[in-house]
């Protein structure tokens, strides 16, 4: 009967932590690299700064990590945000335009970009909570229109930020070093730690999980699910804004067409592989971060192998599929049954022959 569904337990009596399969995937990938590309683990020190493939993974992965952190809380409420990639582009365009066409300076430009990103998140949240539009539809609207908005802001072209305007602040955000590590790593790490503290040390995490797991019962507990949902979409927008600034700072060009393209899908994958169910409820920020790093490790590995970037999505899709299969309880129990069945058959044959 229905109440027994929750009683289903792992046969081994051991429940893996949510981030387990992401870690497993990451470990497997690193192991492959260990044998195939020994140079992957080399770290050099130049001018007091660290360089190497591993550092690259963290540096380039920062954007994915930021998006995954925002996406985790959205998914935990039972929603999804498809618009974060477009918000990356919008934020980058706003910062670049404010910087190149006004005299307000870098701080105002960044503030304007973040404001635009947060506003985009608020629009998502309002569509979903007040107008009760399905999250996938509501955010799809901004995913599609957001690219157009970014292009409109940027004047239908890429906007290059001249070095004299970019340095030192913007350049530092993208390419600077802090404690010997590229600065995007610091931004992602700080956001991760702060978010972790806020959701677990205040009641935010509990409220988010409760709304995602059982909206009706949450309402009966007096939880305002409208506020909770609105907050997570605004936060996802903010994270996308940060990612957009790093993206702009990295290359010095706001590219409304390609900035953050398809990154929303990577973020969703990172969240799912990190052990947060798309149906909402329990979430794992750590798992999502590991998931994002797994993806970046994969991409870096493929580039190191010389796989052309146009073809890279294919092996990437295969790895994603493998990790998802690892997580599938159906497949795991089928494997278990098959293995067990074979063993039984084997023993029966032994009996028969004796």
């Amino acid at each position: 009967m229905t109440q027994d569904v929750n009683l289903k337990k792992n046969r081994l009596g051991w429940q893996p932590p949510p981030a387990f399969y992401a870690l497993l995937g990451l470990a497997a990938l690193l192991l492959v690299n260990w044998f195939c590309i020994p140079s992957f683990f080399e770290i050099q020190v130049r001018d007091g700064n660290f360089y190497g493939s591993l550092i690259d993974v963290f540096n380039r992965g920062a954007i994915g990590v930021l998006l995954a952190i925002g996406m985790t809380l959205v998914v935990a409420t039972g929603g999804v945000d498809l618009s974060v990639g477009s918000v990356v582009a919008i934020c980058g365009a706003v910062v670049a335009i404010v910087l190149t066409t006004t005299q307000f300076g870098i701080v105002v430009a960044i503030a304007a970009g973040l404001l635009a990103a947060v506003g985009a998140g608020a629009v998502n949240g309002i569509l979903i909570t007040w107008l009760r539009i399905e999250p996938i539809i509501a955010t799809l609207v901004l995913m599609v229109s957001g690219r157009g908005i970014a292009k409109y802001i940027a004047g239908e072209q890429t906007v290059a930020v001249p070095p004299e305007l970019a340095s030192p602040t913007l350049d530092f955000l993208g390419n600077g070093h802090f404690l010997g590590l590229p600065f995007p790593i610091t931004i992602a790490a700080v956001l991760f730690v702060v978010t972790l503290l806020v959701v677990r040390r205040t009641s935010v995490g509990l409220l988010v999980e409760s709304v995602g797991a059982n909206p009706s019962a949450s309402r009966a507990c007096g939880i305002n699910d409208t506020v909770v949902k609105l907050t997570v979409y605004v936060f996802a927008g903010f994270c996308a804004g940060l990612a957009g600034i790093i993206d702009l700072a990295n290359i010095g060009i706001a590219d409304p067409t390609n900035a953050g393209a398809l990154s929303e899908l990577d973020a969703i994958f990172a969240v799912l592989v990190g052990g947060t169910a798309l149906t909402g409820g329990r979430f794992s920020l750590t798992g999502a971060v590991i998931g994002a790093l797994l993806l970046q490790t994969l991409m870096t590995t493929l580039y190191t192998w010389g796989v052309p970037s146009d073809v890279a999505p294919v092996p990437k899709a295969i790895v994603i599929l493998l990790v998802c299969l690892l997580q599938s309880p159906t497949l795991r129990s089928w494997l278990e049954r098959t293995l067990r069945g074979n063993r039984k058959m084997g023993s029966r044959q032994v009996e028969a022959s004796s």
Partner: protein, 514 residues
């Protein structure tokens, strides 16, 4: 007389076992052409299972079903329809975006010479079928444009369009208003006169006595009996459904639930005046005083749960006013109700109560935490302390505070829910079927808890189908029938009235105001 004619449908010794539950245990049932046969019973009686076996949703384990003397064993609802057994389920299984005519004839649309749908004949056939029911409407319009009552008619039309011999109506009136019910009954009478055999499943006693020719009562998967409606007293029917004789002596009361003195002095915790919700419960007046245990009695579907939901603000009222602590409230919601000290243990604890994915600790502190600002979280130590206290006080059997609530037994989940609300120190606690599906020991503990709460000055609104429990625990019992509060048993205010006991409640549930 229907009883004289040969039965069209005969069920003999039907048995159906589900994992852990014997849903049907040797049930016999006979249906004759040209009768409306009411099928009655409380939750878990086996009505739904009987219908599902009859219509091929579930296979039967053993027994025999004969239709017109032929043994049948339909394997799907459409197979049953093909044999002449049509069913209109409570949630009407129609497609709102298709036209009325398409809904009536879906799957058997008339075809023309080249195999395309012959729309002209389709509309004609649909109109004819509806005319047979005395219903006139534009069959070309989308079903979504019509009311639920019309959808019900369309579902019936779909059923009889197949030359059905047996029509099963599963709680067809539960979402209809008075006028729509009358219309449905007219249609049912018309079909009965044409010789249709109708099985009518409902919870509404008045409707059973208005329309049905015979009544069959099931209880706990067993047949209690079949009677001609005219020969079965309402009180007897209720006795058969609930499974007990009106007792001679009322059972021992738990605690001292009578609250005469405080009731005169104190303000009511809540005072509802003309509070009601369209299609859910008729406007009612109700006052609950501190320390009082007020029982809400009534059969399933009588509106007893809806009263609790309205007072807690889970459903919004469409009429009337509610005063809490002397102040009239507006835009009432669970959030405000909790702030005003009202707690609610819902009937469906899986849907509206516990959050199965979360731990025991999290479930217990949830209401308390949501009432605080997010920046004033309860520390983990404090959470553990609160959870630990209630786990100990209520005897919640769990391996740890971090155990997922979904893995606990029903009784322990109920206790976790109680702990959540007790931690709030409420002024009024609404308990909707707090003892359903839990074992006897846990039940006694919850009853004792009610007495303790009452002694501590907490008002309790106890909604239950267990009349014995109500008689034992409550200082006053309010009785609902057919979504209306019909009477109150209040020994303290009415000295001439009989004592508050099971038989008195049962009489009120069964009868008109006589």
């Amino acid at each position: 007389m229907p009883t004289l004619t040969k039965p069209i449908l005969k069920i003999h010794n039907l048995r159906k076992q589900f994992p852990g539950v014997l849903a049907l245990d040797g049930v016999d049932f006979e249906l004759t052409a040209g009768e409306v046969h009411a099928l009655m019973g409380e939750n878990g009686a086996g009505k739904s299972t009987l219908i599902k076996v009859l219509t091929g949703v579930h296979p039967r384990d053993s027994g025999r079903v004969e239709l017109d003397g032929q043994t049948i064993a339909p394997t799907s609802p459409s197979a049953a329809e093909g044999l002449g057994i049509s069913t209109v389920f409570q949630e009407v299984n129609l497609i709102p975006r298709l036209s009325v005519a398409e809904n009536i004839l879906l799957g058997r649309q008339p075809k023309n010479a080249i195999g395309a749908i012959d729309w002209k004949t389709l509309y004609q056939m649909a109109t004819q079928t509806l005319t047979r029911l005395g219903v006139e409407l534009d069959v070309r319009k989308q079903l979504a444009e019509y009311s639920i009552a019309i959808a019900q008619m369309v579902a019936i039309a779909r059923g009889i369009a197949l030359d059905a011999k047996v029509l099963i109506l599963d709680e067809p009136t539960s979402s209809l208003d008075e006028k729509e019910v009358t219309h449905l009954f007219t249609v049912m009478e018309r079909l009965r006169n044409e010789g249709m055999a109708i099985v009518f499943v409902t919870h509404f006693l008045d409707q059973v006595y208005r329309i049905s020719d015979r009544i069959t009562v099931l209880r706990n998967g067993r047949l209690v009996g079949t009677w001609p409606t005219g020969e079965l007293e309402r009180l007897d029917l209720v006795e058969h459904m609930l499974g007990r004789k009106v007792p001679q002596l009322s059972a021992q009361r738990v605690g001292s639930a009578a609250v005469p003195s405080s009731k005169i002095s104190a303000k009511p915790v809540v005072k509802a005046q003309g509070l009601g919700r369209r299609g859910s419960v008729h406007p009612f007046d109700l006052e609950i005083f501190p320390g009082e245990v007020v029982g809400l009695a009534g059969l399933l579907g009588s509106g007893r749960s809806e009263v609790g939901r309205l007072i807690f603000g889970f459903d919004s009222a469409t009429t009337g006013t509610l005063e809490v602590g002397g102040n009239q409230v507006v835009n009432w919601s669970p959030r405000k109700a909790i702030d005003a000290g009202i707690a609610w243990c819902p009937e469906d604890r899986k849907l509206d109560g516990v959050i199965p994915q979360l731990s025991v600790r999290e479930n217990i502190v949830l209401a308390l935490q949501s009432a605080r600002s997010i920046f004033h979280p309860l520390s983990r130590a404090k959470q553990n302390e609160i959870a630990q206290r209630y786990v100990a006080q209520l005897g919640i059997k769990t391996t740890s505070l971090e155990t997922t609530v979904g893995t606990l037994s029903g009784g322990n989940q109920q206790k976790v829910l109680l702990a959540r609300w007790l931690a709030m120190e409420p002024k009024l606690i609404i308990l909707d079927e707090p003892t359903r599906g839990i074992d006897v020991g846990a039940k006694a503990e919850i009853e004792n808890l009610v007495a303790e709460l009452s002694a501590a000055g907490v008002a309790v609104l106890l909604i239950s189908s267990e009349l014995e429990d109500l008689a034992r625990c409550c200082s006053r019992v309010v009785v609902l029938r057919d979504r209306r509060i019909v009477a109150a048993l209040d020994p303290s205010s009415d000295l001439e009235q009989n004592a508050l006991d099971e038989s008195a409640i049962m009489k009120l549930i069964a009868h008109h105001n006589d």
